[in-house]
């Protein structure tokens, strides 16, 4: 653990600069607000920039599969910038969550020497502009195996189990609260067979009935996803499927912590600027000691969150490179996530309070950060859930 390098690399810095410039131009507070006002509008210029121009779809996908092989660390850099502007983007849902599920599934294939369906899908995600979303309740702490989708072998076969990767299946069920399903091309669907085996299948989103419902954070819209016996292809089965999903969710929490860190940094910066300008009773409100102390506290937490979030993505990368154990990676991620989920909303709320009445208005961008902060807090389980999982890892 002591040897994880936490300093930004030149590549990180370049990536950050490019993404920040793009989002400054295309994800201003006005751009983001439109997403709330126009339920059919998803600020497509943002992802046109991130995916088509900056070519970030394959960032976390190995070079052998057509990606950049940049690892989770680079995704964390992008996510922290997305967090800063609460940008509506498929990056997390497709280029991180779905891609990491498929990546982990492909890794299972690799171990058996097969260049199977997961590898093929990974290449599509990296290279041909295809996007995907994970058909799972966005607030679920883990894939418990008790999900709501049933996979039947397609066609009139008698035996449901065992299924093999590559097998065609029929997917039946409803999942509530899927993130970004309404604009993904594919759905990655964790399911169980009638016989009880776990599988991960992939299906065309166009075949599903995807119904967006209004929710806390419209920059990451939620849907009910109804699968009425649609056709899917199995990409992982059994323990391999279970492990792939478990590890991919850890990966996601690490990148999410980076997004949360970006939210905190943006809120803090805007708050600091505001208190230096806003005057009440003849003084800037930043001259009042109670405000000063609370900002200093927020600054301490923001710094610590940044360090912990970078440690999380870097440790996952180190674990993938065989330098540290999977348990070490999971510990770093759960730690960062628990910390992020404890502090992010709180800091944004503090900054909102410093804005006084202005913070309650639609006009000031702080509410966009608040909504993203709160969504991120409950994604994949709250702070308590992360601490509980951490406790299992560190024998407490």
């Amino acid at each position: 653990m002591n040897d994880i390098d936490l300093l930004p690399t030149d590549i990180d810095e370049d990536l950050r600069t490019n993404v920040r410039a793009l989002l400054a131009a295309r994800a201003s507070a006005q751009d983001v607000s439109r997403v709330y006002d126009e339920p059919g509008f998803d600020a497509p210029a943002v992802d046109a920039g991130l995916f088509d121009e900056l070519e970030l779809a394959g960032l976390v996908i190995p070079e052998a599969d057509g990606g950049d092989g940049a690892g989770l660390s680079a995704a964390g850099t992008v996510a922290s910038e997305i967090g800063r502007s609460a940008a509506p983007s498929l990056f997390l849902s497709s280029a991180v969550v779905a891609s990491r599920v498929v990546f982990r599934a492909a890794a299972a294939e690799r171990r058996t020497g097969a260049d199977g369906p997961a590898h093929k899908l990974l290449r599509r995600l990296a290279t041909d502009g295809t996007t995907a979303a994970l058909a799972m309740d966005v607030t679920a702490r883990k894939w418990s195996g008790s999900l709501h989708v049933t996979a039947n072998t397609a066609g009139p076969s008698a035996a449901d189990d065992p299924l093999e990767p590559g097998a065609a299946v029929e997917l039946i069920g409803i999942v509530h609260g899927v993130a970004d399903a309404h604009r993904a091309d594919l759905l990655v669907v964790p399911a169980r067979t009638v016989g009880g085996a776990l599988v991960i299948a992939v299906a065309d989103a166009a075949d599903a009935r995807v119904t967006v419902f209004p929710s806390l954070d419209e920059t990451r819209r939620l849907s009910e996803v109804k699968l009425a016996g649609i056709r899917g292809q199995v990409i992982a089965v059994g323990d391999g499927a279970q492990r792939a999903l478990e590890r991919a969710l850890i990966d996601t929490l690490a990148v999410l912590a980076c997004e949360q860190s970006g939210i905190v940094d943006a809120a803090f910066d805007s708050g600091l600027e505001y208190v230096k300008e806003r005057r009440q009773f003849g003084r800037t409100i930043g001259s009042y000691q109670a405000i000063k102390h609370r900002l200093a506290d927020a600054w301490i937490a923001a710094n610590q969150l940044r360090a912990a979030a970078v440690a999380a993505v870097r440790t996952v990368d180190a674990s993938d490179a065989g330098e540290v154990s999977r348990a070490d990676a999971a510990i770093a991620v759960r730690t960062a996530s628990a910390y992020a989920k404890t502090h992010t909303s709180h800091i944004v709320e503090e900054i909102l309070q410093f804005h006084g009445g202005n913070g309650m208005t639609w006009e000031f961008p702080i509410h966009l950060l608040l909504k993203r902060a709160k969504l991120d807090e409950v994604m994949l389980g709250g702070a308590e859930a992360q601490r509980d999982e951490l406790g299992r890892l560190v024998d407490l």
Partner: protein, 403 residues
Amino acid sequence: MSSTDTAVPTGGSAADTAAIDAAVSAAAAAARDLTDDAAVWGVLYDHGLAWVDFPRGSGGLGVSGSLRAYAHAAVEAAGLSQPDPRRNTIGFGMAAPTIAVHGTEDQRKLLRDIFTLSRIFCQLFSEPGAGSDLAAVATRAVRDGDDWRVTGQKVWTSGAQNADIAILVTRTDPDVPKHKGLTYFLIDMKQPGVETRGLRQITGESEFNEVFLDDAVVPDSRRLGDVGEGWRVANTTLNSERVSIGSGAPREGGMIGVVASAWRSSTKYRSPVLRDELLGHWVDAEVQRTSGMLLNQKLAAGRPGPEGSGAKVSFSRTAQSLSDLDLRMRGVDGLRYDSWEDRRPTDYSMTGRNPVYRYLRAKGNSIEGGTTEIILNIIAEKVLGLPGEHRTDKDVPFKDMPR
């Protein structure tokens, strides 16, 4: 304002309750044949039963404010209709007490209109540059013969679109320090120089308004208090505490009730840790309720204490913590919203709609009606006797102040 001459710290003398009883009898007789509620309310006003602590002739009997509850119950027992103060909140809570103290005889006639709900009031105090620091208002009023011309922008005005009259604080002299150049008016809202726009909130809806005053007219006869005395008059408004009636909220009233009920009705996301958190808030809410009970009992016994000044701080913290937990404990259902559409709600409830609304709306609780920070300052300085904050804005002409 009480005209009782006894120094005994009790809720009012026997003579006072007798005066109320007599007034109620007389009003009941006078209202016997009336069928229109507003007419009945007019009779109550004329008999001094609107606000019994106000002077005779201004809707009151000049008795102790602690007898309001007694009078309210007596009128109710006599079977007479009484107006719902929530239909004219600013009128009852802020305008009336201020007019009663500072109004001319002519202005005091508005008290009857307030009580009978025939004139609805709103408040034009806050400005974009004057939030907690009300004395920093920049809206100008300039003398124009028998009138004043008012230009400026006000914010956080609820009910502006339905109001007839506003209580208004303006700057009439920018050449003197900021507390000294203010003047207070009662301005007609239904005129061309007054434009009301919804102020959209983070919930998506426009619960409050911005009000733009552009050469709006107010006659000098609607000036409340002397020119330059606006700060003193405004403080009467801000210090008006409505006398609470009854023995306070029931257990599990407000946000705690909403969240506790939700918890009981679903076992989906329960955990021992969340339960402990919920119970912590339950304890806080119940302790606040108990404190309010004690405060009411002290008030009723004529021994008010300063403890009430902390109530809003605790209330907003608990409302915020509970609405936060509410959102978190329901999984995806906690994230569902109804609509982000910009609407003008006709009424609203902090405990209404859905967890997302409640979470977002509760953020305002620690801001509206005095921020938590301002209240803590007031407690520290006024109650605990700690030194005031260093100020440089008290002696500089308003126009020379950095803003």
